[in-house]
């Protein structure tokens, strides 16, 4: 078997696994886990977006969830009755049923615009300073959504926006099940496949970017901005593009979140969410697409696993429940992150590049040994 058939077989089996995954999950674990799977897909998109900003360009962004919010509210406003009072009689009521193929690019674009808005004033900042400003930006967006009710009620404040229409494709609303042969595809299945397509798209774009001229420029400015400038890299534009590209992934994910959830409120976009996405990127392996995906999946699964394990365990061992699983969540994350930082600072599944960078000494040792051996 030659290399190319092997690769084709690998791709084919991956497609089969990904197609059958929701069936397996639902049969083995039930609907709640299928829902978790869908949510995990949204977070994979988010983590891959943040990976561009942090993993590639090295810009520490702690307000990333703001772009998710921009995408979510874009979809929500254009697919719910929220703006109906404002638009009644203007002839623009049709805007409130904007089709997905317009909303998605729009959400991505708007998020990118906000990315540039965040990037432009922070171009000279790095590290901690950039982190503080981006953190503030995330909060500003959230507070804006919370308070944008007067003079015109646009966001409906802390109550959020309800009755968001599900995605409609070719006249079929994704809230309705599809019967195909003997199988019934519920809404959860349909969203899974839609998200899968988007995730694959995001992965494709991410990996193409990484190996592009722009991707190399990102890594170069992360490594040494002065040197990058002297090589003729326009650091300003390159950084703004990182913010914009990363944000657009967040925007797409946000739009899907709004449609999937049917409801958005500012409480979904708190600082803790930004921190979680950052944790996914760091835990998995900054700058490495498979690692980031793994990180996103692990962090999405942890609370669910805890819920399924902690209570039965307490019942059996103690006969009563002392700790709520949700309280353990932060503890588990903290321990996991500390362990990763101590034992595998490059993340659980890092790129080969990063491993060799952080384990320089470990690599040097065997080479000394081989030298000694060759002398003997």
């Amino acid at each position: 078997m030659n290399a190319s058939t092997a690769r084709h077989l690998k791709t084919l089996s991956l497609i089969v696994v990904l197609t059958l995954l929701p069936f397996v999950i639902q049969l083995a674990l039930g609907n709640a886990w299928l829902r978790t799977l869908d949510t995990a897909m949204l977070y994979i998109m988010l983590a891959l977006g943040l990976n561009i900003v942090i993993g590639y360009a090295g810009l520490l962004d702690l307000g990333y969830i703001a772009f998710y919010a921009v995408g979510a509210y874009t979809y929500a406003l254009l697919n719910s009755p929220q703006l109906l009072p404002l638009l009644t009689g203007t002839g623009y009521e049709g805007l409130l049923h904007t089709p997905i193929w317009i909303v998605l690019p729009l959400a991505a674009m708007l998020a990118a615009v906000f990315g540039v808005l965040l990037g432009a004033p922070t171009l000279k900042l790095r590290g901690d300073y950039l982190a503080i400003v981006t953190l503030g930006f995330g909060e500003i967006i959230r507070l804006l959504l919370r308070n944008l009710t007067r003079p015109l009620n646009i966001t409906n404040g802390p109550i959020g926006i309800n009755q968001i229409a599900p995605v409609e494709i070719a006249g079929h609303s994704m809230s309705k099940p599809i019967q195909l042969g003997g199988l019934q595809f519920t809404s959860l299945y349909q969203y899974y496949y839609l998200f899968l397509v988007l995730v694959l798209l995001v992965i494709l774009v991410s990996s193409r970017l990484q190996h592009s001229r722009l991707g190399r420029a990102w890594i170069a400015i992360r490594e040494d901005e002065v040197a990058a400038q002297s090589m003729g890299i326009n650091t300003r534009n390159v950084k703004l593009l990182a913010f914009a590209m990363g944000a657009s992934f967040g925007g797409i994910s946000g739009a899907m979140f709004a449609s999937y959830q049917g409801f958005v409120s500012p409480e979904s976009f708190i600082l803790m969410e930004s921190v979680m996405i950052l944790a996914m990127v760091v835990l998995g392996g900054m700058g490495h697409i498979p690692g980031v995906i793994l990180g996103a999946i692990l962090i999405c699964l942890t609370p669910e696993v805890l819920r399924d394990v902690v209570n039965p365990l307490q019942d059996q061992l103690l006969g009563e429940r002392i700790v709520a699983p949700d309280d353990l969540r932060m503890l588990v994350f903290a321990i996991a992150l500390i362990l990763v930082m101590l034992l595998r600072p490059e993340g659980l599944w890092p790129s080969r590049r990063r491993t060799s960078e952080l384990h320089e000494e470990d690599e040097a040792k065997p080479s000394v040994k081989t030298k000694v051996a060759s002398h003997e």
């Binding site: 190399r216 890594i219 040494d224 990058a228 002297s230 060799s356 960078e357 040097a364």
Partner: protein, 244 residues
């Protein structure tokens, strides 16, 4: 006298340059010029303003007043990322190699401002010929190289931009004497290939030996300008910078 200031139009002409850096006026109005084909040394003690001068020349810092003419063009109108494409390339102090790129990728980054692929490949071969050590390690991550090898990567990377004027900021810094010697051998070869060099060094003796002309900088001003040979024999310079 071995080298008079040539009378042709200079490749680089600096008039009354002042540079402020971090609230301090690091360069207080200097004049000098570099002609095509020359090797010019800018020597001086730590904090004399040498690096600030180089940063201004390469666009990383903007002059607070004065003028820099490169190849007949006022550099004030060139964006920072536009210097490399015009052949005005700096090898930054402390080398600044991209440690997560391999040696080869570092060199390719040097050609970032170019899009003439076949010529880039030719230049790669040329640069590897100049730095056989780098050819041996072309797949190694630059961050895992020794200091001397990293300096080689930095110079080789700058060469990939096809410089007309190469600005070298302290190429000997932090390197063992033997390695420094090797680096300067390479600098000689580059100069012989027709690249104009402006060399900023604390190691004044070495710099002056490689150069035709030199300028001595002291707390933001140029205090002495002469042929390198004359500077090497100048008792004042000997006492202050050559440790004799």
């Amino acid at each position: 006298m071995t080298a008079e200031v040539p009378t042709s139009t200079p490749l680089l002409a600096v008039t009354n340059l002042q540079v402020s850096y971090g609230g301090i006026q690091a360069v207080k109005g200097i004049n000098f010029e570099v002609h095509a084909g020359e090797v010019v040394a800018l020597i001086g003690a730590n904090g004399a303003g040498k690096s600030s001068t180089l940063k201004a020349l390469s666009g990383l810092l903007r002059p607070s007043s004065g003028q820099i003419q490169y190849n007949g063009e006022d550099t004030a109108g060139i964006p920072t990322h536009g210097f490399a494409a015009r052949g005005l390339v700096m090898v930054p102090e402390g080398r600044g190699v991209f440690s997560r790129f391999t040696v080869h990728e570092n060199l390719l980054m040097g050609a970032y401002c170019r899009d003439d692929k076949p010529a880039i490949h030719q230049d790669l071969d040329k640069v590897y010929e100049l730095f056989p050590r780098l050819k041996e390690r072309y797949q190694q991550l630059a961050g895992t190289l020794s200091g001397g090898e990293q300096q080689m990567v930095a110079i080789a990377r700058a060469m990939m931009a096809r410089p007309r004027l190469l600005l070298l900021d302290e190429p000997s810094m932090g390197l063992a004497p033997l390695i420094v010697q090797k680096i300067f051998e390479i600098i000689h070869k580059i100069a012989n290939d027709g690249v104009t060099l402006l060399l900023v060094e604390q190691n004044a003796k070495l710099a002056l030996k490689s150069a035709q002309r030199g300028y001595v900088m002291e707390s933001g001003r140029i205090t002495c300008a002469d042929s390198a040979h004359a500077l090497l024999n100048n008792p004042e310079v000997q006492r202050a910078y050559l440790g004799e």
